[in-house]
């Protein structure tokens, strides 16, 4: 991949809309027993992941400028995606995300008199499964899916739409 900055942002937005959103809704409804409202935690989790990605894309683009080919290998995409996931998960566990507390329900440990988490909002396994279900289709879409529908996408550094036509 040789994305441009605008292409990076557009592609990320499209991937989260096309893959992240439906997968997350399915997970959230499953967690709520297929009843309204869906569980909030998976939604907040994926939204945070997306927001972090938008902030990081300009950073990645600057890193790309140090590469002679100005490319971004798929391996990099995979590596940094996993890093983003771990960062968001860690932030949640550290209770840095006010809208996504690490723990939904605590009890006081009678011996040591400290709160112990009884119902974590997302376990590592849940979060990792969620991430995996979003990430793997995204990687496949980047490798194969998008260009089948968007013939110009790969020439435009990941931007969508047509080339400007000047007569």
């Amino acid at each position: 991949m040789t994305p441009t900055l605008f292409g990076r942002l557009q592609t990320r937005l499209a991937l989260y809309l096309l893959i992240g959103l439906p997968v997350t809704l399915a997970i959230a409804f499953r967690a709520s027993g297929w009843s309204w409202p869906p569980a909030a935690e998976p939604c907040w989790f994926i939204a945070t992941l997306f927001a972090l990605g938008l902030v990081l894309e300009p950073v990645y683009f600057q890193m790309q400028r140090f590469r002679w080919d100005q490319d971004w290998p798929f391996a990099f995409f995979a590596f940094f995606s996993v890093m983003e996931f771990l960062a968001v998960y860690a932030a949640m566990r550290l209770d840095w995300l006010p809208y996504l507390p690490a723990c939904l329900q605590s009890r006081l440990d009678p011996a040591r008199q400290v709160p112990v988490c009884q119902v974590p909002s997302l376990t590592l396994a849940e979060a990792a499964a969620h991430f995996g279900l979003v990430f793997v289709p995204m990687l496949i879409a980047l490798l194969a899916g998008l260009q089948i529908f968007m013939v110009r996408w790969r020439y435009r550094g990941g931007q969508f739409g047509r080339f400007p036509v000047i007569d």
Binding site: W68, I148, V165
Partner: protein, 653 residues
């Protein structure tokens, strides 16, 4: 003129009837016996089905709006006149009409050498500006900017008309035609004038001469697929699929390479044979052979009705010498004529001039198998000039030859050591073994990333600056090739020299290369060798093609700026718009596009790569679609997906 006899055959090949056409003029084919000259009585034939015209001793045919249609060979006929060549079956309903060449010409044309297919031998100092127009075909008819269509028709040499005409017939033409077909243009609205049956023949010849036989890998990306405009499945996935299906689990290494390249793995590159096979398949799918007319382009002119007329010569084995001249009319023309000739550096040119017939000095793109054969038998010393990808291939081949004869020494001559790679923005190109390393011949972002955008947006002066920064001779970082050089240095049969060549001469059956060494002393050295293989690459000079030279002289379209010097020289291509149109040739609704090396140093860097040709085709096809050119639909996600499914299924677009 001899009369022509047309035979009518049934499905079993039995001749049912014969019709003699003695006079020039039009002959109707149809079911109504009283009203047509060639009656074919069957329900599958319309009352007025088709018409044949005898003109200038040649036959033309058109469909007269029949119910079931008319086919010439595999081509369904439209309302235009198509030339009906001898031996090609004309299918009308249940009948097949044919005529033999013997029924026609005064005498069978002698077999002669086919001047279209001469190898790319350098022709130093080509002909003067178009003197042949005065005397030879197309003569005075073309001695003006705009040619009246009436005069072309009156000449009797008009072979047909079409909406889209691709001139060249190589991979550049093929990719453009492939796009047109997938954008919706039917087969019978496209014509290709080319000199080879398969689009990749010329390219294959270059590959083989520069030591890339079919089993070897070319320097191209997995998703640069001229047979598939989506780039999916790429060559890596196809190779993986084939090997894994065959039970070889190691096949997964190909897609793992694509995943990790170029940082964690060597860049994946496809096998030449796989590319040929893929192109064969796509040629069949889009009907390439049915659209192809053998011919060598002579000249192109605007016509007075907003079209273009191409003058071309058909091969000597298809017509007598005086009868090889043809015209074709088209609304939209694409020029992708490729490398006009391989050009030598100046000192090599003078050597060739002074020692005609000597095979001691060759360009790597020329056929030079004899050198390896002679080396394998007798041994000897070879000077390899240049440091590009072809040089590394030739070194690899010499190493292979050394396995059969150890008495082979290699002197590798380069202009100077490479201390540091080229720099641009925040990046610097890697260097190793005195060569700048890069997976492909341009930084990857030139194909579809930030560099593509930058170059397109830049003014001509800025473009030259950018191209100079990104260009230059490079080779791919490959472990096999580097291992050979290390072994060669260690074992003493490979030695590097840095210097500028002053002159080459022949002495006692050896080639002496006089060089001025690079460095503080500038000492003069004589390299004595049996052979010199020049790997400094192809220099594309559009003026060495008579066809392009005439076009430039006639319409004077703006040219791009030249860049570089010596082996890195890139001469001025014809200026094109960002949509690859030669704006100076616009003729009312008519348009001329170009692709490939003809457009070098323009809005796109990698014009002579697979993906570059695909890009040029995409931009020009989109441009035509936006102008609502005939037959073209707009390519949105749904159409793209449906067409991709058809590609996958091998169905016609």
């Amino acid at each position: 003129m001899m009369p022509i006899e047309i035979q009518v055959r049934d499905a079993g090949g039995r001749t049912l009837a014969r019709f003699r056409l003695a006079d020039e003029g039009e002959y109707q084919i149809g079911r109504e016996q009283a009203k047509v000259e060639i009656p074919l009585v069957d329900g599958s034939v319309s009352r007025r089905h088709a018409a044949v015209r005898l003109s200038g001793g040649r036959l033309f045919v058109t469909d007269s709006g029949s119910t079931n249609g008319t086919r010439l060979g595999e081509t369904p006929l439209g309302k235009h006149w198509y030339e009906w060549l001898a031996g090609v079956p004309l299918v009308v309903g249940i009948f097949t009409l044919v005529y033999e060449p013997g029924d026609f010409a005064e005498e069978a044309p002698a077999v002669e050498t086919d001047d279209e297919r001469t190898a790319p031998v350098p022709r130093a100092g080509t002909a003067d500006p178009v003197p042949w127009l005065e005397s030879e075909f197309p003569g005075r008819l073309f001695a003006r900017d705009t040619v009246p269509v009436a005069e072309i028709v009156a000449s009797g040499k008009l072979a047909g008309e079409t909406d889209y005409l691709a001139v060249g017939g190589g991979i550049g033409s093929f990719v453009w035609v492939d796009h047109l077909r997938i954008w919706g243009v039917p087969q019978d609205r496209i014509r290709v004038i080319g000199v080879t049956a398969s689009c990749y023949e010329k390219w294959k010849e270059y590959c083989e001469n520069s030591q890339i036989p079919g089993r070897e890998r070319i320097r191209s990306n997995s998703i640069s697929t001229p047979d598939n405009l989506w780039g999916f499945p790429g060559y890596a996935l196809r190779e993986t699929w084939r090997e894994v299906k065959g039970g070889d689990i190691r096949g997964f290494r190909h897609i793992l390479k694509v995943f990790g390249e170029p940082t964690l793995a060597e860049t994946y590159t496809p096998r030449a044979d796989d590319v040929y096979a893929a192109l064969d398949r796509e040629e069949l799918r889009i009907g390439w052979r049915q659209m192809l007319t053998f011919g060598r382009a002579i000249a192109l002119r605007k016509t007075d009705d907003g079209r273009y007329v191409l003058a071309y010569k058909i091969p000597a084995d298809q017509a007598g010498d005086s009868d090889r001249d043809r015209y074709f009319l088209a609304r939209v023309v694409q020029l992708a004529t490729g490398y006009p000739t391989t050009r030598y550096l100046d000192d090599l040119q003078s050597f060739k001039r002074q020692n005609r017939g000597s095979n001691r000095v060759v360009n790597a793109y020329e056929e030079h198998e004899g050198i390896y054969r002679a080396l394998a038998e007798r041994g000897g010393t070879v000077v390899v000039r240049g440091r590009g990808i072809v040089a590394s291939r030739v070194l690899q081949r010499l190493h292979e030859t050394r396995q059969r004869n150890k008495q082979i020494g290699v002197l590798h001559l380069m202009r100077g050591p490479v201390e540091a790679g080229a720099a641009f923005d925040l990046a610097r190109r890697a260097v190793g073994y005195d060569v700048e390393m890069q997976p492909f011949n341009w930084p990857k972002a030139c194909w579809g990333g930030e560099y593509r955008r930058l170059l397109e947006a830049a003014a001509p002066e800025k473009r030259v600056e950018l191209l100079s920064a990104w260009g230059g001779t490079t080779t791919a970082e490959r472990a096999d090739w580097m291992a050979i050089l290390s072994a060669g240095k260690r074992e003493g049969w490979y030695r590097i020299y840095f210097g500028e060549v002053k002159k080459m001469r022949l002495k006692n059956d050896k080639v002496v290369t006089e060089i001025v060494a690079k460095g503080p002393f500038s000492e003069t050295l004589d390299l004595v060798a049996d052979y010199v293989i020049d790997c400094t690459g192809l220099i594309a000079d559009v003026t060495s093609s008579p066809f392009l030279k005439d076009l430039l002289a006639r319409y004077n379209p703006p040219r791009n700026k030249a860049t570089g010097s010596g082996p890195d020289q890139r001469l001025a291509g014809i200026a094109v718009t960002n949509q690859f149109e030669i704006a100076a040739l616009r003729n009312g609704p008519g348009r001329v596009y170009a692709a490939g090396v003809v457009t070098q140093n323009g809005p796109y860097a990698a014009v002579d790569s697979f993906l570059g040709l695909q890009y040029a085709a995409l931009r020009s096809t989109d441009h035509l679609a936006a102008a609502r050119a005939p037959g073209l639909r707009r390519m949105g996600p749904l159409r793209s997906f449906v067409q991709w499914l058809k590609w996958t299924a091998g169905a016609k677009p």
